[in-house]
Symmetry: C3
Subunit: 219 residues, 3 copies
C-alpha cells in the first residue's frame, strides 16, 4: 500500500495540477519552435509524463502508470488545447505557471522517491529516481525540441537542486521510518519553497572552478 | 495467440518490406549527414526497429522482438549495404520509397496496437503505443542525426495522423470484438491511403491558433 | 554464476577505472559546453552508466545494476569533483585518458556480451548489446550535450568497430564453449589494442561509396 501525501483527493488534485503545468511548458515550447498541433501534444505528453515513464521502466513497474491511468494521459491533451487557442495569454502568466511548476517539482520528486523505494531500490537510487521523475520530462522535452537541456545549462535558476533536496528529505524519512502523510507533504513543501527561492533570487549552480574564476567573472 | 493480419507469409513479407524501407530512410539521412558506414548501419537499425523496441519496453515484452528475431536485425544491414553503394539511385526513387514507407506506417501502427492490447493495456494506451511503434523509429533517427524531429515540424506532410487513424480503427475493432485478418488489414490499408493522400495533397496539421492567424498567413 | 574476467578483485578495479574514465569524458564535455556542476554530474553519470542501463532494460535485468551497486553510482561523482577543480590539468592528459577509455571500451563490450547471453539472448543480439554497453553512454552524453553523436561521425577514429571486434570474439568463445577467465580477458585485450591502434594510426570507417569517391577525395 503506497503512502499517501495529503489526503487521496488532495493529492490527486495536486498531481493533475502538476501534470497539467508540466504539459503547459511542453506545449508552449512547441509553439515557440513552430511545431504543429500534433507536435504540441507530443511535447506536452512527454514533458508531463516522461520522467515517470523513465522511473517506472528502471524499477520494472511496467506498463508505466502513464499508460494505465487515463487521467494522466488526457490531462496533457487538455493543456495542449488551451495553449493552442490561448498561448499569448498563457505566456503572459508565466509567473503563475512557474509557481505551479515548482509545486509539481516538489510533489513528483517525493512521490518518485517513495515509489522507487517501494519497489526495493536503495535510498541513494531512490533519491536519484525521485529527482529523475521530477526533471526527466523536461530533459526529454528539450531533446525532442532540439534544444540543449535547460536543466544542464549554467544560465538557469536551480531546478535539479530543489528536487534533490525534496528527494533526500523523503529518503531520510524513509530511513528513519518517519514517513507519514504530514512529513512527506513537508518534504514536497521544502522542495517547492527552495525552487521558489531559486527563481526569486536567481540562485545558480557554479561552473567548473578555473573557468569561472578566470573566464567569466573578470570584467 | 496473436491475430495475424493477412496470411502469415504475406504479413511477414510486408513486415520485412516495412523494416527495409524504414531502414533505407535512416541510411539515407546518415549519408546526407556525412556519417560513416557504421553510422549508416546504426541509423538504419534505429529507424527500422526503434519504435518497436520502445513499445516492447513499455509493455514489458523483454527482450524486445528486435533482439530475438534475427531477420528483423539483418534487414536494416542489407538496406545499409544497398544505400552504401547505390545511394544516388535510391535518392532518385524517393516516390517509391515513400509508398513503401506509408505501407510500413500502416502495418506497424496496427500491429503495435494489437500487441499492446495483447499485453493487457487499455484501448487509449494501445492506440498511443501503436502510433509510437510506427513513428518512434523516425524520431530516434532524427535525434541521433542531430536534427529536429521531422514528425513534430509544421512544414511536413501529416505522418502521425495516418498512424493514429490506423491505430484507432484497430482499437475500435478490438473494442467491438471484430478484429479479424480482414478487418485488421483494412485498418492498415486506411492508414496507408491516408498517408498517401497527405503526401499527394500536402496535408498539414495546424499550428497554434494566434500564431497562424497573425504571424504567418499575412503577406 | 557469471563468468569472471580476470580475478574478481582485478576485474572490479578495471570496471571502476573504466567507469571513472568514461565519467571524466562526460564531465569534460560538460565543462566545454559551459554547463554547471550539476550538468557535469549528470553527463558523467550518463556517460559512465548509460550503456549498461540500456542493456539491462533490454534484457529485463531491472533495476539495472547502475541502480543497485552504489560504487557504480558514486564513481562518476568523484570524477565530477576532480574535473570541477582540475579540468585544465585533466584536459592536458588526454592521451592517458584515451588509453583508459580504450580499456573501458574493451572491458565493457565483453562484459555486456556475456551478460546479454546469460539472460538468454542469441549470439547476434549479445554482440549488439555488448557493443551498446560500451558505446551507448557516449551517445547519450552527446545527445544531452546537444551535439551530433561522435560515434556516428565520419571524422573520428574508429570507436564502435573495436567494440564489435571484442563482442564478436566473446560471442565466438560462447558459441564454442571456450569462454574462460583467460579467453574473455583476451577478447577485451584485443578490443583494447584495436582501439589504441585506431587512435594511433587514425583509422576511420568509409563513407557511402559515391560520396567518398567524387565529393571529398578530389582535391
Amino acid at each position: 500500500m503506497p503512502i499517501e501525501l495529503f489526503t487521496p483527493s488532495v493529492q490527486h488534485a495536486l498531481e493533475v495540477a502538476g501534470i497539467f503545468v508540466f504539459a503547459i511548458s511542453g506545449a508552449l515550447l512547441a509553439v515557440r519552435k513552430n511545431f504543429d498541433v500534433f507536435g504540441m501534444a507530443v511535447l506536452a505528453e512527454v514533458t508531463a509524463l516522461g520522467g515517470g515513464v523513465f522511473r517506472d521502466l528502471v524499477i520494472g513497474a511496467v506498463p508505466p502508470i502513464a499508460f494505465t491511468d487515463l487521467g494522466y494521459f488526457l490531462t496533457p491533451l487538455v493543456a495542449t488545447g488551451i495553449v493552442f487557442f490561448l498561448h499569448p495569454e498563457v505566456e503572459r502568466i508565466t509567473a503563475a505557471v512557474g509557481v505551479f511548476d515548482a509545486a509539481g517539482l516538489g510533489l513528483f520528486c517525493v512521490e518518485g522517491t517513495m515509489k522507487a523505494h517501494d519497489f526495493g531500490l536503495g535510498l541513494t537510487s531512490s533519491v536519484t529516481l525521485g529527482m529523475a521523475t521530477a526533471v526527466g520530462g523536461g530533459v526529454l522535452r528539450d531533446l525532442l525540441a532540439h534544444e540543449a537541456p535547460s536543466l544542464l545549462r549554467w544560465d538557469r535558476d536551480l531546478y535539479a537542486v530543489p528536487a534533490i533536496v525534496g528527494s533526500s528529505i523523503a529518503a531520510l524519512l524513509l530511513h528513519f521510518d518517519a514517513l507519514t502523510a504530514a512529513t512527506s507533504a513537508l518534504a514536497a513543501a521544502v522542495a517547492f519553497v527552495v525552487r521558489l527561492a531559486a527563481m526569486r533570487f536567481g540562485w545558480r549552480a557554479p561552473r567548473a572552478w578555473n573557468r569561472r574564476s578566470t573566464a567569466t567573472e573578470e570584467p
